[in-house]
């Protein structure tokens, strides 16, 4: 067991006007994750600490926090990898509701905006055919756990909250690349706007922090290519 120093950003909307920092000491071993540490704090030292979590296995996407300024999944980040005081704060670029909990409504609104569902009118009883190669075209982009880390890492989203952002655009690409989908045209209208794919300047930090390595930056920039094609086609339409 080793002692670790944590400095946690606290904010209680009923008491505070701005967030404050609070120090804690927790003990942990080589398997202790940041989430484990926060939960043990909550159970043993300070029940008022607020955070989100559920699966503790890096798949539900609830537990995103900033660890030393970098967005991480609490349950997949281990104390063993840090020295000195570890800073823990709520995800950047979202409004803080309380302590480590942020308001995810904008994120969900952006996801919904791109029509993230298969659009086609097949209604017979058989499954579509889709070869492994066709599946591979979009499979990587379908692994997004909606954790929002990429939004906390993307300065363009921080500067412009209307920017659809990496996860939403990745999801749009996921459906646009699906051989079973016919909805690309209606999704493109969202991607074509200034807050669509064009809100991105390829900072690339979204891909750096993505815990599922789905390279959202690539998806967003592939969407730019699609949007550029769409632009040209549109020129000839009139």
């Amino acid at each position: 067991m080793t002692e670790y120093q944590l400095r946690i950003q606290r904010y209680d909307p009923e008491q505070d006007d701005t967030p404050r920092l609070q120090r804690y000491t927790v003990s942990g071993d080589h398997t202790t994750s940041v989430l484990d540490a926060l939960l043990s704090l909550q159970q043993q030292q300070d029940p008022t600490l607020a955070l989100r979590w559920s699966c503790r296995m890096a798949i539900c996407g609830s537990c995103g926090v900033m660890v030393n300024g970098i967005p991480k999944l609490g349950c997949k980040t281990f104390l063993r990898d840090y020295n000195g005081v570890i800073d823990i704060a709520p995800l950047a670029h979202f409004a803080v509701e309380k302590d480590l909990i942020v308001d995810m409504t904008p994120f969900l609104a952006h996801l919904s905006a791109i029509q993230p569902y298969l659009i086609n009118d097949k209604d017979d009883k058989a499954p579509h055919k889709q070869t492994p190669a066709q599946l591979a075209k979009y499979q990587q982009f379908s692994n997004c756990i909606n954790c929002g880390l990429c939004y906390a890492a993307c300065p363009q989203f921080g500067l412009n909250p209307e920017f659809l952002g990496p996860a939403a655009i990745t999801l749009a690409q996921r459906y646009n690349l699906d051989s079973r989908d016919n909805g690309k045209a209606s999704r493109m209208s969202q991607l074509n706007g200034n807050n669509g794919a064009w809100g991105c300047t390829f900072v690339g930090s979204c891909s750096e922090v993505c815990p599922k390595q789905l390279d959202p930056a690539a998806a967003v920039n592939q969407a730019k290519v699609e949007s550029a094609k769409d632009f040209i086609i549109n020129l000839f339409k009139i």
Binding site: D12, P13, E14, Q15, D29, H30, T31, Q42, Q43, Q44, P47, T48, L49, A50, L51, R52, W53, S54, C55, R56, M57, A58, I59, C60, G61, S62, K76, E97, K98, D99, I101, D103, M104, L108, Q115, P116, Y117, L118, K122, D123, K125, A126, P127, H128, K129, Q130, T131, P132, Q134, L135, Q139, S142, N143, C144, I145, N146, L171, Y175, D178, D181
Partner: protein, 604 residues
């Protein structure tokens, strides 16, 4: 007072709740559906399911075979009419999900690929790599966005049902981001709140799986059925309980004890199958209860190893190539690497059994209807009668879909035909009562805490209601739970804040869990035989006893006292009880059983 009026309330945004909400919206676009969940829907624990969803797919397979596997697996405690309905509709539901975009894994020719799964005689498990639940949940969630009739109320914790006489007329919920109470009046309510695995100490479940819905219905007089049947999954990671999917064994992983010996052959699951050639229903592909029990015996005999203070055996995947593992089990590779620092291609994964699934739940009929008018239940929180004494892996994801749809359609039908309650003075009184009740729980805790009480409960359950049970242990557990209930009455929530009060939520969840724990323990004590996941060690109780116990247990809530138990007959349509056999004993026995099943299936 905040009151919302809607037609259908769905409590739970997991696979079952989402499927139900979509079905209701499709059944009648004019209905107003409110989907409540204490977490964002895509955080629901369906997301963690790895292995797959079962449906008869191959030409060589048949509904009768799936039926017989399920009934056999259930140790004959499944409702056979329900199983028949289920096996008939599972395929169509998986195809529906495919039409909604689920990225199912495929064969070279583009058709759906199916894999082997424990307890299933034929390959019939559809999968999306090893993230099946994840993909199902996200597909359903994303599809639900298409329906304007579905209004999502995310991060709403349901505290209670609104009931007038024998019918339900809405729910009371706590809005987590503001701490406000809200009354939601509805004509139909669907409970889809998931299981109760967090009642136990070692479990594969997420933190939200605390049995809320079961307790909600229970407290309003609905029976909890077959609660003694709690499935241990043989392969959880030590400490965390994180699941290492059965699909590993489907791909050929083997289990070895600390001497490197494939011990399952000593427990009636042999003969040993050659490495890399897994056989359905043999050795590692035997049913979960048998595998978990074998672990218990190995531990007693001192043949388990130790990892960080936990007894473990090992899962060996080393004979599979790294490329194959990356393609078929990428998530498992990631989990093993992160949580036990093991590369499965070159080292053994330490594992141990962990509580995984609650077979029992809110009693419903084949239409997901409970005994309260207007109240439906579906998914892991319900007992529609599919799993009996033991669930087969990959049947429950299909269950969410098949019965989620049924629940949604039935609730829509009910909402269209019934009159809503318009009694507003009554509502105001309800609201006030709830508010007062809630405010009473705040105060200062001198020598107890939610965390401590919860810990005591989970350890008591692990001790008393574990893989093997006996009268002494169960009685002791029962007494401990009573004492914990008493402590709970005096427990206070120290955090008085309104916005995202984690402590309050945990306090309320603990209240639900304790009620569910008592139901599990009471039912386990009453069932003095061994069947499926319920194994008694007392003399005279170690075998199945069809004469007295081919019966569902029903637990009824008693405020401040032990639940009252009663029994219900099992519906048997075509497959009469026989011995459950695995390994080599299986072949001969199964043929007879199947002939019977085929004969039965011909009726429809």
């Amino acid at each position: 007072m905040q009151t919302l009026h809607t037609d259908i309330v769905v409590v739970g945004g997991g696979g079952a709740g989402l499927r139900a909400a979509i079905a209701a919206a499709e059944a009648d676009a004019g209905l107003h559906i409110s989907l409540l969940s204490k977490v964002y829907p895509m955080r629901s624990h369906t997301v963690a399911a790895e292995g797959g969803a079962a449906a008869v797919t191959l030409a060589a397979d048949s509904a009768a075979a799936h039926f017989s596997d399920t009934v056999t697996g259930s140790d004959w405690l499944a409702e056979q009419d329900v199983v028949e309905f289920f096996v008939k509709h599972a395929y169509q539901e998986l195809v529906q999900l495919e039409h909604w975009g689920c990225p199912w894994s495929r064969k070279q020719d583009g058709s759906i690929q199916v894999r082997r799964f424990g307890g299933m005689k034929t390959e019939r498990t559809w999968f999306a790599a090893d993230k099946t639940g994840f993909h199902i949940l996200h597909t359903l969630f994303q599809t639900s966005l298409k329906y304007p009739a579905i209004q999502r109320l995310d991060e709403y914790l349901v505290l209670d049902l609104l009931r007038e006489d024998n019918r339900v007329c809405g729910v009371v919920a706590l809005v987590l981001n503001s701490g406000d109470l809200v009354l939601i009046k509805a004509k139909s309510v669907i409970l889809a709140t998931g299981g109760a695995g967090r009642v136990f100490h070692y479990n594969t479940n997420g933190g939200i799986v605390t049995g809320d819905g079961m307790a909600l219905a229970f407290r309003h007089g609905v029976a909890l059925r077959d609660m003694e049947f709690v499935q241990y999954h043989p392969t959880g990671l030590p400490g965390s309980g994180i699941l290492i999917t059965e699909a590993c064994r489907g791909e050929g992983a083997v289990l070895v004890n600390k001497h490197g010996y494939r011990y399952l052959q000593d427990y009636g699951l042999g003969p040993e199958t050659p490495l890399g050639h897994p056989q359905n229903k043999q050795m590692e592909l035997g049913p979960r209860d048998k595998l978990s029990q074998a672990f218990w015996h190995e531990q007693q005999a001192g043949r388990t190893d130790e990892y960080n203070g936990h007894a473990v055996v090992y899962l060996d995947l080393r004979h599979l190539s790294r490329a194959h593992l990356q393609q078929r089990l990428p998530f498992i590779c990631e989990l093993a690497q992160a949580y036990v620092n093991v590369d499965p291609a070159s080292a053994l994964i330490p594992i141990r059994p962990a509580v995984h699934y609650t077979m029992g739940g809110i009693m419903t009929d084949i239409n997901c209807q409970t005994t309260l008018q207007g109240l439906y239940a579906v998914g892991e929180c319900a007992s529609v009668g599919l799993h009996g004494a033991n669930r087969l892996g990959s049947n429950s994801l299909s269950e969410l879909l098949v019965f989620g749809r049924v629940a949604g359609e039935q609730a829509a039908l009910h909402a269209r035909t019934c009159q809503g309650s318009n009694n507003d003075t009554w509502s105001a009184a309800q609201y006030q009562r709830q508010g007062q009740q809630l405010s009473r729980c705040f105060g200062s805790n001198k020598d107890d805490s939610v965390a401590r009480l919860r810990q005591a409960m989970t350890l008591a359950m692990e001790q008393g209601c574990g893989i093997y049970r006996d009268t002494d242990g169960l009685t002791q557990c029962q007494q401990q739970l009573q004492a914990l209930q008493a402590r709970y009455q005096n427990l206070k929530v120290t955090d008085t804040s309104k916005v995202f009060n984690n402590e309050l939520v945990q306090y309320l969840e603990l209240g639900f869990s304790l009620d569910v724990a008592q139901a599990i323990c009471a039912a386990a004590l009453a069932r003095t035989e061994s069947r499926g996941a319920h194994q008694r060690r007392d003399s005279g109780m170690t075998a199945r006893d069809d004469k007295s116990f081919l019966q569902h247990s029903l637990a009824y809530y008693q405020a401040g006292a032990e639940p009252i138990l009663s029994w219900q007959d099992v519906s048997i349509t075509s497959l009469p009880p026989a011995e459950r056999r695995y390994g080599s004993a299986l072949e001969t026995a199964l043929n007879t059983a199947e002939q019977a099943a085929d004969a039965g299936a011909k009726h429809d």
